[in-house]
Amino acid sequence: MAILEKMELVLNEAGRKVPEMVNGHAQVPYLGVGKLQPRGCKAAPPIRTAADYPESGDKRVADLETALRKCGLRDGMVISSHHHLRDGDRVALMALEAASRIGVKNLTWFPSASFPSQKSAIELMASGVIDHIEGSMNGPLGDYCTQGKMRGMGVLRSHGGRWQAIQDGEVHIDVAVIAAPTADSFGNCDGSHGKSACGSLGFALADSTYADHVIAVTDTLVPFPCVPWQIQGNNVDCVVEVDSIGDPAKIVSGTTQITRSPDRLRIAEFVARFLRDAGIMRDGFSFQAGAGGIALAFVSYLKQVMKESGVKARFVRGGSTKYLVELLEEGLTDYILDGQTFDLDGVRSIANNPRHLATSPFTSYNYHGKGNFASMVDAVVLGATEVDANFNANVVTHSDGRLLHGIGGWQNCLAAKCTILAVPSFRDRIPVIVDQVTTLSGPGELIDVVVTERGIAINPLRPDLMDAVKGSKLPIRPLLEIKKEVERICGGKPQRPRLGDRPVAIVKWVDGTVLDSVWQVS
């Protein structure tokens, strides 16, 4: 497809070279934060009639092949799946293999994220069942893409950007396959119960409302009604019962572990103290942190500081973990608004605690809506692989250009009132603060603070934050000073890795414009 066409590249507003056509679709290069004015109406699936569905409400079919045939899967269509079962998911591969068995080719696989356990999708790409992946890729799939082996071009979107793309009609999903930890025969689905319980099903919500056809796959079928119906059966075409939708050990971790690395603990402690000293941590505040080692340690330090100061949060945004659940249960926050649930304590809490709520990328992140939760959060703590002197950051690729992470909610979270990158100043010998990021994932104007083990740098665009921490004992330093110190330790600036001149994937901004390209590496 696209790679056979002559690739026209243009410079976007961030000064990055991006293709104008991707997989046969014209693209809008990034215009700057908040510059694109969308027009037109949202996409919509065809109107259906209850006359075509069983009055008994029983939509069960024998297996996935039958379901895919019934939903009319054909060559070149878009099939979607979701990552609420994370590395334990079996449903996406089951669906793709069923598609292979019924003989369809050139599918676009549109997962909300792919995981290393799905590496056999490489064989399906090699055999032509899958043309390309639009969704995060890492590990073997990421290498397959960056080595230029995928036929079509990869498209990386944030969680909010995926909603936006579906809603705006950029991606039309022909068949959505939803893994449901519990479902009834009508197609109502719930993620909080069942042997493969994973918590929130938010990633599948857009697909369930916008896709032409929706298949629910469950290993815990309950008599109608399945409650709470995170996915409404009224959007579902078929229900397939299977022995297992996933490997529970890989769906959630038994316990999420706080880092033991003294350097990372130090970073986490700095972030907590920064929130206190800058006056962000006050009664009724809100924050979001992920499930990485530094983020977990941050929550644990922040909890101490909140207790010492007698401060309570109004809400915290998940990825929920044991540590957020403790905050909720000890009354240190009124609510957890949860996008995905990382450990068993999180799953237990979301199933039982009415103040622990499942959210979706629509409520939390979608930029083409009438606002979203992300911009209402007081502080968010994120990671990054690289950050440059202007606070532009990379979260997508290694410094050598190989795909490392999906964007996840990262881009969407940049809208928070205070965006903090918590990163070590170097990994192995590789400095994290660089002259130019390998892949631009987030514009520096939205990144306010970089916290490293050697000091805290505040973006000069935020003099208010600089003022707020005057008198603090924290090591507030210019980013360039930390950069120089690390370059001395590492024995000079690193060489620039040589990247190819052929884009193999694009990075979308939250409004659907193209922020950067990922280049082929040898």
Binding site: P262, D428, R429, E453, I489
Partner: protein, 403 residues
């Protein structure tokens, strides 16, 4: 690795570590040959960024070592330059090459010399063969960092660790921390001094001291090397008493050299010597610890407690440290940075103590001004030693930034 004289120049030498689990280290293999010059084979996880720099550095170090013909294989796991230099030098020496040559990384400006009575509440142990722990060791705010050549280093790694620690003293910024090195038991420890002393560490810990002669031997060796290298700044000594013999000679040891700044105790070895179990309560070492506190005070040197080995037991550490301060110790060792804050808190005067001391000091100044010989607070008369203790406590509180 032992190498016979006649085969020396044919023997390959290896040093360092590599593998998926290894970080910030490098493995170097040098195979001497008769001709063909230097051939370097390089694998590195940071090759796209520092491949050329590593190759350039390797060539320079090998040339400086006087190696002319060798096959050199380098597996790098993101080692920093000071580590790479030390590993190449160790591999060359193990191959019987480059002996007597020191290939030194650039030296950072030396910090201010350390004062004999500086605060030594916490000293963080860093294994001398684990370079990944060196670079950020000082960030965690301990009063001292100990680069350890003794128990944390395997007997076969002593020679290589010595070079690594030497290079770290030159190339790593230890910020406000006192730069300490624990050498091996004498006589091996004397060889350590040959490499270490030229880099002006602030303090040397001498392990398993049982007699004042051992301190004198080390002290003389240090004086000799200092003279050779024109070093005039002080290098303090901290003997570690770890046996019944050592405890009995505590006072003689504490007064064996002018350079002694502190005595400390090693409880693992001490309890093993006694054949008793080390308990969290420490009843079995009560005599030894009190003996040491008394001897050190009699000799006017500081007295520092052992380490608390269970990193997971923060409450146990706090209890131990509070008790330790109550017994008269002025600090402890740390085996993990998480222990530092707890120890600093435990060794800090409480606010009640500070308040009381402030009143006593104020009363003392008032009496001085009025020319009174007797200091009184309310209806109580205050003895001179009480005033002295209050002054000392206030000085300590000031040094810790508490007042």
């Amino acid at each position: 690795m032992t190498v016979g004289i006649e085969t020396r120049s044919k023997q390959a030498g290896e040093a360092g570590h590599w593998g998926a689990e290894i970080r910030s280290d490098v493995h170097v293999r040098i195979e001497p040959r008769d001709r063909g010059g230097i051939d370097i084979e390089l694998e590195s996880r940071v090759k796209p960024y520092y491949g050329e720099a590593i190759r350039r550095q390797a060539e320079e170090v090998i040339e400086a070592l006087g190696v002319r013909h060798a096959q050199v294989t380098i597996h790098d796991e993101g080692a920093l330059p000071f580590v790479i230099a030390a590993r190449i030098e160790a591999a060359a020496r193990r191959a019987g090459l480059g002996e007597g040559t020191r290939v030194l990384p650039d030296r950072l400006p030396l910090p201010e010399p350390s004062a004999r009575d500086r605060m030594r509440r916490s000293r963080l142990y860093v294994p001398g063969s684990e370079p990944k722990y060196f670079i950020n060791a000082a960030l965690h705010g301990a009063d001292g960092v100990i680069l350890d050549l003794e128990d944390s280093v395997h007997p076969t790694e002593k020679d290589a660790a010595r070079l690594l620690v030497r290079n770290a003293l030159r190339g790593v910024d230890f910020l406000q921390c006192e730069r300490m090195v624990r050498i091996n038991q004498l006589p091996l420890g004397l060889d350590d001094l040959e490499e270490i002393i030229p880099e002006s560490p602030d303090l040397i810990l001498i392990p398993k001291v049982e007699s004042p002669h051992q301190v004198v031997d080390a002290s003389q060796k240090i004086a000799e090397i200092k003279a050779n290298y024109g070093i005039t700044r002080p290098i303090w000594l901290m003997p570690i008493l770890e046996s019944a013999q050592g405890m009995e000679k505590a006072y003689e040891i504490a007064t064996a050299s002018e350079e002694i700044a502190a005595l400390t105790i090693g409880l693992e070895d001490y309890t093993a010597d006694l054949g008793v179990v080390k308990t969290p309560g420490g009843a079995e070492s009560l005599f030894a610890r009190q003996r040491m506190v008394n001897a050190a005070h009699a000799a006017s040197v500081q007295t520092i407690d052992s380490v608390f080995g269970d990193v997971g037991d923060i409450d146990g550490l706090r209890t131990w440290a509070l008790n330790s301060r109550a017994m008269g110790f002025e600090g402890m060792g740390c085996v993990h940075p998480l222990q530092i804050t707890v120890i600093h808190q435990a060794f800090a005067p409480t606010s009640a103590e500070i308040e009381k001391a402030q009143k006593i000091v104020a009363a003392f100044h008032e009496a001085q001004q009025k020319g009174l010989g007797v200091v009184s607070l309310g209806s109580k008369m205050i003895d001179a030693p009480v005033v002295q203790r209050a002054l000392k406590l206030m000085a300590r509180a000031q040094a810790m930034g508490l007042v």
